[in-house]
Symmetry: C2
Subunit: 199 residues, 2 copies
């Protein structure tokens, strides 16, 4: 049921626009807002406009940044000879969490998807190529999603980079650690077989 | 992992404060905000401050209202002889959805719960009693939640109202329509047995 209080209904609809938020959750969120004190509600609203106005894209890697450059591109201890290419800022966070990668990133902000009218020009491929001109980069690791679109994007970029003499690699496919083989899908299992290594 | 971009991390934390919103969802919500256009983000923020500043409590029933009175209390076609007492504004919406109840409501904004330091003074019982003075109300239906606190609140209010000569009733307990008996808990089942009717 829609509320006949316009400001409340409007707030519910704002929350509902977010992916994965249904009507019940949006209602609960709107009631949470009503339960806040005035200063808390103002702070909440300010957090939205602040994040939106202050967070920009890093001039180098296109990841999120508060100033011109993101913290990783500013960090002189990172290995500038390896760039890990991801679709999304959240992927950077996921890889950083492993503490295994010491190179730089490049965030494409999407993947090539003709179905959604997203071609190579709509994602940050041009910006990636521009970074490779000075010969400092030796390897580009493609860490796009293991989906049709992610694969296509990785293939597309790899074909652009190879003639430049840059090593292009891809994340390994296989069964997730801790998962039950029984539940692995056939494609993942056959990729895991293909990529098997001697022990 | 926390983001080292303060405005983003702050927004994520704002979303995380909502009940039932975990870190992953809060992150996704914050990225949704970043993906908005500037005017959309401003609109979102404004919806929060607007809802918070414009939505007040109805002077009569304590339900949410944009002006002095809620739409139901303003509606002269509603039956003023019956008041349905609920804990929360969302319960009003749920009952309205049945289209079965034509009386008025009273929203307590909580239930008596000594464990949480909520006594009869902390919820809108005084306001309910004040509505019953003019003798127009014949019946009060207790529709508090079927929990210990909801029950205790219903009992407490019923003891206050009975000496005033007002009929006090309670929602029926029983098995939910469409549910499987096998999965009904014993308390619900025994209440359903107690409340059985001839067919």
């Amino acid at each position: 049921m829609a509320y006949n209080l316009a400001p409340l209904q409007n707030l519910i609809e704002q929350f509902e626009r977010m992916q994965g938020i249904g009507n019940k959750t949006a209602q609960r969120m709107a009631f949470y807002v009503l339960s806040l004190s005035e200063s808390e509600a103002d702070e909440f609203a300010k957090a939205i406009t602040d994040a939106h106005s202050k967070i920009k894209q890093c001039k180098i890697c296109c990841d999120l940044a508060e100033g011109e450059l993101c913290p990783i591109c500013q960090d002189s201890s990172r290995d500038k000879s390896v760039i890990c290419v991801v679709q999304d800022s959240r992927d950077v966070v996921a890889i950083e969490r492993t503490h295994e990668f010491k190179g730089l990133y490049h965030v494409l902000h999407g993947a090539i998807s003709p179905m959604d009218n997203i071609g190579p020009e709509q994602i940050r491929i041009k910006e990636l190529i521009a970074r490779l001109g000075d010969g400092e980069v030796e390897e580009v690791i493609m860490a796009t999603n293991p989906t049709v679109e992610g694969e296509a994007t990785a293939m597309y970029i790899s074909r652009l980079l190879k003639p430049m003499g840059i090593k292009v690699s891809r994340l390994a496919y296989g069964v997730p650690v801790g998962a039950d083989l029984e539940y692995a899908d056939e494609v993942t299992l056959s990729r895991a077989l293909e990529g098997r290594s001697l022990i």
